[in-house]
């Protein structure tokens, strides 16, 4: 197996104090924790940091690790003949940082193998790990339902109690009626259980790909509809796109910018066949960027004869 330099992982010298090790871990945990980090490979890096801290925070494990001697990271390595992990009786705590369950072969061989092997010998059963994945859908796919294909690395324990990430191809049939951000739990489709314990669950988070025109909020859709000043003032009927075609939108005279007009049932399907959400047309008043001489003259006439004051509520100030 290949040697792992835990001090280098945490960026501390070999003689670092416990406090310095703790501070280094906290700094790196904030940087790479998969729930808060946007760094590339954050999950993988966090696992390395968590594993290093799991050993170096514990005086016994740290002392045993130091006795392995100094090796180069990645160097082929065997523990010294007199280094006997069994005699040390290390305990594998699943409550440690990183969940304590997905450590490297290096860690498992030196600090975890005895514990997990012992557990297995005692008939210890471990529920399979839960697995999370995000499935990105277009609005069209959400409208009709779809099949999503993707690969996951699912943690599974082998016969000797070591954890490995096994590639698994998933074909998920996503029904109509899902909404953005929805999480769907699929029981028993996560990592395999050990020792007769149940398999873990698969959690699929639905994420809608942004659309150029429509915004989804639950099962409703929103579209910004620009109208001309004369359409807003006089009223009009305009064509707007819907997710599966077109619709005619009747605009009453005197509408305001930001006003929402509802097209019932033109949104996304609701689950269980319970109808559809609505489409909301949000009106925006668009002014021409440049005017012909005639258009300018007409606007100037209107400015002269109109008594409309949109700032009347400002008062005299």
């Amino acid at each position: 197996m290949q040697y792992k330099d835990y001090y280098k992982t945490l960026g501390v010298p070999r003689g670092a104090t416990a406090d310095a090790i703790k501070k280094a871990y906290r700094l790196l945990a904030r940087k790479y924790h998969p729930d808060v980090s946007k760094e590339a490979n954050a999950e993988e890096k966090f696992k390395e940091v968590a594993e290093a801290y799991e050993v170096l925070k514990d005086p016994e494990k740290r002392a045993a690790y130091d006795q392995l001697g100094t090796w180069q990271p990645g160097q082929d390595f065997r523990p010294p003949p007199d280094w006997d992990r069994q005699a040390r009786g290390f305990r594998f705590e699943s409550g440690g940082p990183g969940g304590g369950f997905d450590f490297s072969d290096f860690f498992s061989e030196l600090f975890g193998g005895a514990a997990t092997g012992g557990r297995r010998a005692q008939g210890f059963a471990t529920r399979g790990q839960d697995v999370e994945a995000t499935v990105e859908l277009t609005l069209q796919q959400a409208l009709h339902g779809t099949e999503a294909n993707f690969q996951l690395a699912v943690p599974e324990m082998d016969a000797s109690g070591h954890l490995h990430r096994m590639p698994r191809q998933i074909k998920a049939r996503i029904p109509r009626g899902v909404s953005d951000g929805q999480v769907m739990r699929v029981p028993g489709k996560g990592g395999r259980g050990f020792g007769g314990a149940p398999d873990g669950d698969l959690y699929l988070k639905i994420s809608f790909r942004p659309h150029a025109l429509f915004r989804a909020v639950e099962h409703d859709l929103y579209i910004e509809v620009p109208v001309t000043p004369w359409e807003a003032a006089l009223g009009a009927t305009v064509d707007i796109p819907t997710l599966d075609g077109h619709a005619r939108l009747k605009i009453s005279a005197g509408v305001r910018a930001g006003q929402k007009l509802r097209l019932a049932g033109k949104g996304l399907p609701k689950p269980g066949g319970h109808g559809f959400g609505d489409l909301f047309a949000v009106l925006q008043i668009a002014v021409p960027g440049s005017l012909t001489e005639k258009e300018k003259s007409l606007f100037e006439d209107l400015a002269r004869c109109s008594r409309f004051d949109p700032r009347r509520h400002f008062g005299g100030s």
Binding site: R26, A29, R30, H33, D35, V36, A50, G95, G96, P97, G98, G99, D130, E132, Q151, D158, H164, M166, P167, R168, Q169, I170, K171, A172, R173, I174, P175, D180, G181, Q182, V183, M184, R185, V186, P187, K189, D201, L202, Y203, L204, K205, P210, H211, A212, L213, R215, E224, P271
Partner: protein, 107 residues
């Protein structure tokens, strides 16, 4: 070590039944008291039922699992955990909105 090949798993995704507090504790690794605090603080998403008989959907489970990871990995107490979850949820909303706006600007 035996080699493992890819395994095709066909999954029909349906909304699983809602679960109670005890099952949520089991699935998330948090104790019932912590979950109650998070539910009362509004951190577990949509929660149905009364305080004596709550039911939780899949989204609550993933939030609770996230809470457990944050609590374990950062040593957060309950107040800090509520704050962290609230801010992370807000960040998720803002990032979603930002992606939508970027898409519309590019049009």
């Amino acid at each position: 070590m035996a080699t493992h090949e890819h395994t095709d798993i066909v999954v029909v995704v349906e909304e699983a039944d809602e679960i109670g507090l005890a099952e949520l504790a089991e699935l998330s690794g948090l104790n019932a008291e912590s979950l109650q605090e998070l539910a009362l603080a509004g951190c577990l998403g949509s929660v149905r039922g009364t305080e004596t008989e709550w039911s939780f959907g899949s989204r609550s489970i993933t939030i609770a699992r996230r809470a457990r990871r944050l609590q374990t990995d950062f040593g957060l107490d309950e107040n800090a955990l509520v704050l962290a979850l609230t801010l992370l949820a807000r960040m998720d909303e803002l990032e979603t909105r930002m992606r939508e706006l970027e898409c519309q600007v590019l049009r």
